[in-house]
C-alpha cells in the first residue's frame, strides 16, 4: 500500500485539531511504528492477508474546515429525528441528535474535535483508547492520522430499546480518512447500536476509510452492535475494533459485509473480567473483485467467560474471503468457554475463500471448539430443488440464503433479523437500490427507561425469568 504523503501531514492534522503537544508526539511515534510493522504480525496469519486490490495513488488526504450541507442526507436524517443519532459525512461529524429525554438521562454524543482541544478532555478521551499502535499496522496508521471521530457516553442504568444510530455517508471519491471513535457504556445499561455505511454515489477513484473503534462496556452492560457495511466498491475499509468488557458485560455483534472493495477488519472481544459473554455474528456476501479479510479474536482474559464467533460467507465472481478467528484463553481464564465457526460457500470458479481458525490455550480447565469449512454448492441439492420446480438460479439463491439461515435464526438482533434475508437477497441479485430505499427506518422513540438499583437484580440476565 503506497501513500502519496509523508509525516509532514501529521503536523497539519495536529494544528487542525488544536490538540495538546503530547498527542502530536504520539502521532509521530505511531507513524514510526506504522513504518516498521509488517501487514500482519501474528505468525498465524503472515501468509494469510490480502490488501492487493488497494491502490491509493490517486487518493488524497484532506482536512476540511467546513462541511457542505446535503439535502439528500438531511431528508434521510429527518426520518429518524426522534432517535439518538450521529451522522458522519466523509468522516466528518455532520449532525448529532439527542432527544431531550435522553439528554436529561445523561446520554452524550460529541465530535472528538470538541474534546481534543482541551488538555483535560483530551486526556480523559485518550484514556478510553484500548487499541494500541504496536498491535497492528493499521491501528498505528489510525493513531498517526486520525483527524475526526466521535465519543458516545451512555450513562449507567440506561435501557434503550430502540437503536442509537450511527450513519456514515461518503460523498467524495479518492479520499483518505482516519476516524477514531469511542463508545463508553456505563454499568447496567442496555443498548442497541445500529451503524450504517453508505456511499452517495459510485466512484472511479479508490478511497481509504480507516476506522478505530474503542468500545468499553461497564459492569453488566449489554450492547448489541449491528453494522451494515454498504460503502461503494471503490472504498477500502480498514477497521479495528475492541470491545473491552468488564464483569458480567455482554457484547453481541451482528456485522453484515456487503459493500467496499477491500474490507480488512479486526475485532477483538476482550473479556477482561469474569462473567463476560461475547457473541460475534458476521455475514459476508462478496461479488466482483471484492476482498474481505476478517479477523475475530475471542480473548478470554478472565475466568468464566464465554465467547462465540460465527462467520459465514458466500462468494461469487472473483471475490475473495479470508476468515481468521483466534481463541485466546489466558492462564487465569479457568472455565472459559469458546466456540469459533467459519464457513464459506463458493458459488463459482474464480471466487475463493480460506478459513483459518486458531487456538491459543494456556489453561486446561476450559472448553474450546471450532469448526471451519469451504464448500461449493451441492449439485444434488440443486437437482432436488429443481425437481420441485425451481430454476437453477432460483435453487442457487435459495441454497445461499439457506446457508445463512441457521446463523440468522440464532442472531438475537430482533431489530434487523427479519430484514437480513432481504438484504442478502438484494446483494445476491445485485439489485440497485437507492440509499433512500436502503436506509433503515425504525420505530419512534416512545419512552426512555432507566433501572433503579433495587430493580437491577430483576433485570440482570442472570436473574431474569
Amino acid at each position: 500500500m503506497s501513500l502519496n504523503f509523508d509525516s509532514n501531514i501529521l503536523k497539519e492534522i495536529s494544528y487542525y485539531t488544536s490538540e495538546p503537544s503530547w498527542l502530536r508526539e504520539e502521532r509521530y511515534r505511531a507513524w514510526e511504528i506504522y513504518n516498521k510493522l509488517p501487514i500482519e504480525i501474528s505468525p498465524l496469519y503472515v501468509k494469510h492477508h490480502d490488501i492487493t486490490k488497494v491502490n491509493l495513488e490517486q487518493a488524497r488526504f484532506e482536512l476540511k474546515t467546513e462541511l457542505n450541507k446535503s439535502e439528500e442526507i438531511d431528508a434521510l436524517l429527518d426520518q429518524i429525528s426522534s432517535l439518538p443519532f450521529i451522522s458522519l459525512k466523509d468522516g466528518e461529524v455532520y449532525k448529532i441528535n439527542i432527544p431531550q429525554p435522553l439528554k436529561e438521562k445523561g446520554l452524550e454524543i460529541h465530535s472528538i474535535r470538541d474534546l481534543l482541544n482541551d488538555e483535560d478532555n483530551a486526556k480523559k478521551l485518550l484514556s478510553l483508547k484500548s487499541l494500541k499502535p504496536e498491535e497492528d499496522k493499521f491501528q498505528a496508521f489510525n493513531d498517526a492520522f486520525f483527524s475526526s471521530g466521535f465519543y458516545i457516553s451512555v450513562p449507567s442504568g440506561l435501557i434503550l430499546k430502540l437503536p442509537l444510530r450511527i450513519i456514515n455517508f461518503q460523498s467524495e471519491e479518492g479520499r483518505i480518512k482516519a476516524i477514531k471513535n469511542f463508545i463508553n457504556v456505563g454499568a447496567d445499561s442496555r443498548i442497541t447500536i445500529l451503524e450504517e455505511n453508505y456511499s452517495l454515489k459510485e466512484d472511479l477513484k479508490q478511497s481509504l476509510y480507516s476506522l478505530n473503534l474503542n468500545l468499553n462496556l461497564g459492569e453488566a452492560a449489554e450492547v448489541e452492535y449491528i453494522l451494515i457495511n454498504d460503502f461503494n466498491k471503490q472504498t477500502n475499509y480498514f477497521v479495528n475494533r475492541r470491545a473491552a468488557c468488564n464483569k458480567d458485560a455482554r457484547i453481541t455483534w451482528v456485522i453484515l459485509n456487503f459493500g467496499t472493495l477491500t474490507t480488512r477488519a479486526k475485532t477483538d472481544n476482550a473479556m477482561n473480567e469474569q462473567g463476560v459473554i461475547s457473541n460475534m455474528n458476521e455475514i459476508v456476501v462478496g461479488d466482483a473483485q471484492q476482498v474481505f479479510d476478517l479477523t475475530t479474536y475471542l480473548s478470554h482474559n478472565a475466568p468464566f467467560t464465554k465467547g462465540v464467533s460465527m462467520t459465514k460467507g458466500v462468494l461469487k465472481d472473483e471475490s475473495r474471503a479470508l476468515f481468521k478467528g483466534l481463541i485466546i484463553i489466558e492462564e487465569n481464564a479457568k472455565n472459559a468457554d469458546a466456540y469459533l465457526a467459519e464457513h464459506a460457500m463458493i458459488l463459482n470458479r474464480g471466487a475463493r475463500a480460506d478459513s483459518i481458525p486458531g487456538l491459543e490455550i494456556k489453561n486446561n480447565e476450559v472448553r474450546a471448539t471450532h469448526s471451519a469449512s469451504v464448500a461449493q454448492v451441492d449439485e444434488e441439492q440443486i437437482f432436488y430443488l429443481m425437481s420441485r420446480g425451481l430454476s437453477e438460479d432460483e435453487a442457487k439463491k435459495f441454497l445461499t440464503i439457506a446457508f445463512f439461515q441457521p446463523l440468522i435464526d440464532q442472531i438475537p438482533a430482533e431489530l434487523i433479523k427479519e430484514e437480513i434475508a432481504n438484504l442478502i437477497e438484494n446483494k445476491l441479485e445485485n439489485k440497485k437500490r437507492s440509499i433512500k430505499e436502503k436506509f433503515i427506518i425504525t420505530e419512534e422513540l416512545k419512552e426512555v427507561k432507566t433501572v433503579s438499583p433495587e430493580k437491577l437484580f430483576e433485570t440482570h440476565y442472570k436473574y431474569r425469568k
Binding site: D378, E379, E380, Q381, F383, Y384, L385, M386, S387, R388, G389, L390, S391, E392, E394, A395, F398, L399, I401, A402, F403, F404, Q405, P406
Partner: protein, 255 residues
Amino acid sequence: MVDVLTIEHLYVEVEGKEILKDINLEVKSNEIHAIMGPNGAGKSSLAQAIMGHPRYKITKGDVKINGESILGLSTDKRAQKGLFISLQYPIGLQGITLFTLVRASLTALKYKPTDPSQKPNLPLPQIRKDLEFYLKKLGLDDSFINRYVNEGFSGGEKKKSEIVQMAMIKPKFAILDETDSGLDIDGIKIVASAIMDISRRETGLILITHYNRLLQFIRPDYVHILMDGRIVETGPAELADLLEQKGYDWFKKGL
C-alpha cells in the same frame, strides 16, 4: 383428460457406461406401474434420467409427455410439465423449512405470475392448512412445517415428507423411488393409503421397489421387471407375487 408419459427405446449412460438399454414404457395418468428389480438393475437411474439429472446421459431414445419430447428440458421445466420424483435418498436441506420449500415449489409450479415484476399471489393460509392435513395423514406432527427439510429426519420421516410434497404439488406423474425402504410395516400401510388417497387415479404412479411389500397395499396395473438395464418382463400385479415367492435368481434362470 388422461395424460400419457411415454418412454421410447431409451438408452442411458453414466460416465461412459451404458446402464439402461432399450427401455419402453407407457404410463397413463390414471395408471399405477411398478418397476421391480434386483440391486444395481438400473431402477434409480431410470427415475433420475426421466427427471433429467445431469449425471445421466441419454444416448438414444426419447421421453415424451402427451407426445411432446421433454429431453431438451431442464429438470425444473420437466417438473412444470407435471413430473415429480420422490428420491430414494432425499437429501438434507439445512436452512430450508418444509414450508419454505413447498411455498417456493408452488410458486414455481402453480402460482408463477405472468409478469415477473409482480409478486406471486399464493393462498398461504390454505397452503399451511393443507400441509397440516397431509402431515397428519402421514402420521407426522405439525412441527415438521418449520423444520429444515430432511435434516435430522429418520429414514421413514424423509419418505413421508416426500409424499407430503407430492400431495401439495399434485403432479401428473410421480416416480416414487423405493418409498417403502426405511419404513416399518405400519409405516408402509400409512404411506400406501396416503399415496392412494392423494393420487386418486389422477396422478400416474411409477413405483420403484425392490420388494413386494408396498405392492400388497397398492395393487399396480402393471409390473415391469428390470434386470441389467433392460425390462425383461411385464405383467399384472400377480407377477410381483410370483417374484416374491421365487426370487430374482429363479426368475433370471427362467429367462
